[in-house]
């Protein structure tokens, strides 16, 4: 990330949101809201002094509420650029007008409480979507696991923060409820994944591996500890993945094939009742902490940004690739590419591969002076076109617009509007040809006459 920030050809627009996207491949016009940071990044050196003295502390989003952060903060330690923003919702100065400790302390005078949002419009040749994922909200679906009322039933992401040396516990695995070290940890896989009744139909793909890692971390970091993993299947298709899983097994993690049907509290233990389907018996584990491998879901608002940019999503809300096997990095919209979990659940190596692929696709696009497109595109017979514009909203690729046309009629020059297809954007779907009332639009290679001839040949 640091390398990207320092690259002369890369401009980072952090803390910014895309509001509108117009134009097309090679010439997107993007309206961007640069949100008020209340810190002048030209002056700020990133020393971090302000963060140490801010008196308002709120739960840290990055630590999933396990720790606190000040209201002038960097989202996480390795954030790029390594400069803070002020959380306007919680900042004492911005809320009540009193405080301003950060401004007094800042040695370069970078804090500016008068900062305002700025909206800019820039042109781009291509867009790569990389909006990532969120975790399935298990608290709303899994009553048998307590609907989130037990603080020691956490998700894999919480565990990740607990075991991280820069995390809220300094890398010690401790129970959120009382800060004690858990001796028995139960892991439950497929919470929300592969569960049509309560969650999602699909497999979230990364959980088998991170659960194996977490189970190993428990055994590794906590002396005399036990790790139990309830699973439906162990799916480890990847280079050195199965070896890793086997090492976790060999080092003492207990894998139980079955689902946990209920978690309840007895004293300070969480009793996990489930089934070991390999021995055909009910089992029950008294755990100190339970870690749920929750399903990956498309990130919140990813659907909104997809409609702003202008491409499709699939039935689960993941960004729709142009072809599941042959064009997994492209969307159906020319010049818009996909990278990472926004397209579907994936782990880090897969994300890096896809992101690299998307980058190269963009380079390939930019390396040519002219663009090759599919010849099967719509064309407008301007003599027939009445300019009714029915085709414009029909086009899923925003490829049709009305253009003025001058022509002579009854000895006078008149101007009227006709539809015009941008052949760079048209994907040849044919929606406009069906919508066109005067029959002015046809799809090259699949004209209405050609299709009627085919029908005749078949039927007559």
């Amino acid at each position: 990330m640091v390398a990207a920030a320092q690259h002369p050809n890369i401009e980072l627009l952090s803390y910014s949101e895309v509001e509108e996207v117009g134009g097309y491949i090679g010439n997107f016009e993007v309206k961007i809201r640069k949100k008020a940071k209340y810190v002048d990044y030209d002056k700020c050196t990133g020393c971090g002094l302000c963060e140490t003295k801010c008196p308002s502390k709120v739960p840290s989003e990055y630590d999933l509420g396990l720790g606190k952060r000040p209201c002038i903060y960097k989202p996480f330690a390795q954030a790029v650029p390594s400069k803070p923003v002020i959380d306007a919702k919680n900042c004492r100065k911005l809320k009540t007008g009193k405080c301003g400790v950060c401004a007094k302390l800042c040695p370069t005078g970078a804090v500016n409480f008068e900062d305002k949002d700025e909206v800019i419009t820039q042109n781009f040749g291509a867009i790569v979507m990389a909006t990532g994922f969120d975790l399935f909200e298990w608290e709303k679906a899994y009553g048998e696991y307590g609907y989130g009322k037990y603080p020691d039933v956490i998700t894999g992401l919480h565990f990740e923060r607990l075991s991280n040396a820069a995390g809220p516990t300094g890398g010690r695995i401790l129970r959120p409820s009382d800060g004690k070290e858990p001796k028995t940890v139960v892991f439950i896989k497929c919470v929300g994944s592969r569960d049509e009744a309560k969650g999602k139909e699909y497999c979230s793909r990364a959980c088998c591996m991170y659960t194996a890692k977490h189970a190993h971390q428990v055994i590794d970091k906590i002396p005399d500890s036990k790790a139990y993993v309830f699973y439906m299947d162990v799916r480890t298709p990847g280079k050195a993945y199965d070896e890793f899983y086997n090492k976790t097994l060999a080092d003492g993690a207990v894998y139980l094939r079955g689902r946990v049907s209920r978690i309840y509290k007895e004293g300070d233990k969480l009793i996990c009742k489930g089934e070991d389907s390999l021995i055909g018996k009910q089992v029950s584990v008294a755990a100190d902490m339970v870690v749920l491998a929750t399903a990956m879901t498309p990130s919140k608002e990813s659907e909104k940004i997809a409609s702003i940019v202008g491409f499709g999503i699939d039935k689960d809300g993941w960004y729709q690739e142009a072809h599941p096997k042959l064009r997994p990095v492209e969307t159906h919209t020319g010049g818009v590419f996909l990278a990472g979990a926004c397209q579907g659940p994936k782990d880090i190596p897969d994300t890096v591969s896809q992101a690299s692929g998307a980058a190269v696709k963009v380079c390939a696009l930019f390396s040519k002076a002219e663009m090759e497109t599919d010849p099967m595109v719509s064309y407008v017979n301007e003599e027939k076109c009445s300019g009714c514009a029915m085709c414009v909203p029909c086009c899923p690729y925003k490829a049709i617009e009305l253009i003025p046309k001058k022509e002579r009629a009854h000895g006078k020059t008149v101007e009227r509007f006709v539809a015009n297809v941008n052949t760079g954007l048209c994907q040849g779907c044919g929606a406009c040809t069906a919508a066109c009332r005067p029959g002015a639009i046809d799809l090259q290679g699949f004209t209405n006459n050609q299709i009627l001839e085919e029908v005749d040949a078949l039927c007559l």
Binding site: G143, R262, Y264, K265
Partner: protein
């Protein structure tokens, strides 16, 4: 508020105090329970293991009588409720089933009326204020766990309770009586039903686990809405103690018993002396605590 009422077999026999207390509570709350005339067995357990059509036809006859009267139906027993509700849902879902069942029972039945458990009628159709207004002797500080068992909440698509995993209707009722509802893990676990008879070791172990979890969470009593749960939990504690060397002595009450008592009826009116585990002492203590507190205040 008028409902058709189906007492079923238990409420005149093993669950007689459920029947008695239901009537007392209904009277106080202005709930008119119209007992279905000439009702027949709901067919629970036996019928649906024997013949699917029979299992639908038996409750359907009772439902048809209620429908003729134009009433929704309140069913106190969990097993009866499950059969009634399953029949209503099956008839609603299929025109063919409706015709078949109507011809068997020789009555029209269109599943127009709502089938509710008595727990849901009292907990959802009657306002908390009305219940609170009737409380003469609050159960202040009585730590009680609510036990729903299986058939009041499962299968979720049929039972349509407030929440199949964590129902709260009875808990809220207990709170309205002044008691302290205790959260626990066995709210919707199975009591073992007739396993206690056919496979005693399996059944008793299930009961032991329920009693243990109630005790571990600090409950003084268990409230239930099902005559079979009541029977199992109340009658088997001695045997469980003998088998596992435990010391369970937890009074079990129907939720309507606790309501009737809180509304001011005597132990005898309600039928509390019929219980296997002595159930009067705890309530005497609760009432005296309340009294003491009142005097103190």
């Amino acid at each position: 508020m008028r409902y058709a009422y189906f007492p079923g077999c238990s409420l005149g026999s093993t669950g007689i105090e459920f029947g008695t207390s239901n009537k007392l509570v209904a009277q106080k709350l202005g709930l008119d329970l119209w007992e279905i005339p000439d009702w027949n067995c709901c067919g629970a357990s036996a019928a649906h293991l024997t013949n699917h059509t029979l299992a639908l036809a038996l409750p359907a006859r009772n439902l048809a009588i209620a429908e003729k009267e134009g009433l929704d139906i309140a069913v106190p027993c969990a097993a009866c409720f499950a059969r009634f509700k399953a029949t209503a849902e099956a008839v609603k879902a299929s025109e063919e089933t409706k015709k078949k069942i109507s011809s068997i029972i020789e009555m029209d039945y269109e599943a127009k009326g709502e089938v509710l458990s008595l727990l849901d009628v009292i907990g959802k159709k009657i306002s908390v204020e009305k219940i609170k207004a009737n409380v003469a002797k609050p159960l202040t500080g009585m730590k009680v766990v609510s036990y729903y068992g299986c058939l009041l909440v499962r299968p979720p698509k049929i039972a349509q309770s407030d929440d199949p995993e964590n129902p709260m209707v009875m808990d809220d009722l207990m709170a309205a009586l002044g008691a302290e509802p205790v959260d626990w893990g066995y709210k919707t676990e199975c009591c073992g039903a007739s396993h206690v008879v056919t496979k005693p070791m399996v059944g008793k172990q299930m009961l032991r686990d329920i009693l243990y979890n109630a005790q571990a969470n600090g409950a003084e009593a268990i409230a239930t809405a099902c005559p079979l749960c009541m029977l199992n939990l109340d009658m088997r504690q001695k045997q469980i103690n003998a088998k596992w060397g435990t010391n369970f002595n937890i009074p079990i009450y129907y939720f309507t018993e606790l309501m009737a008592l809180a509304f001011g009826y005597s132990f005898k009116d309600v039928g509390v002396p019929r219980h296997f585990v002595p159930a009067e002492k705890l309530l005497q203590d609760v009432f005296s605590r309340t009294g003491a507190r009142r005097e103190g205040a």
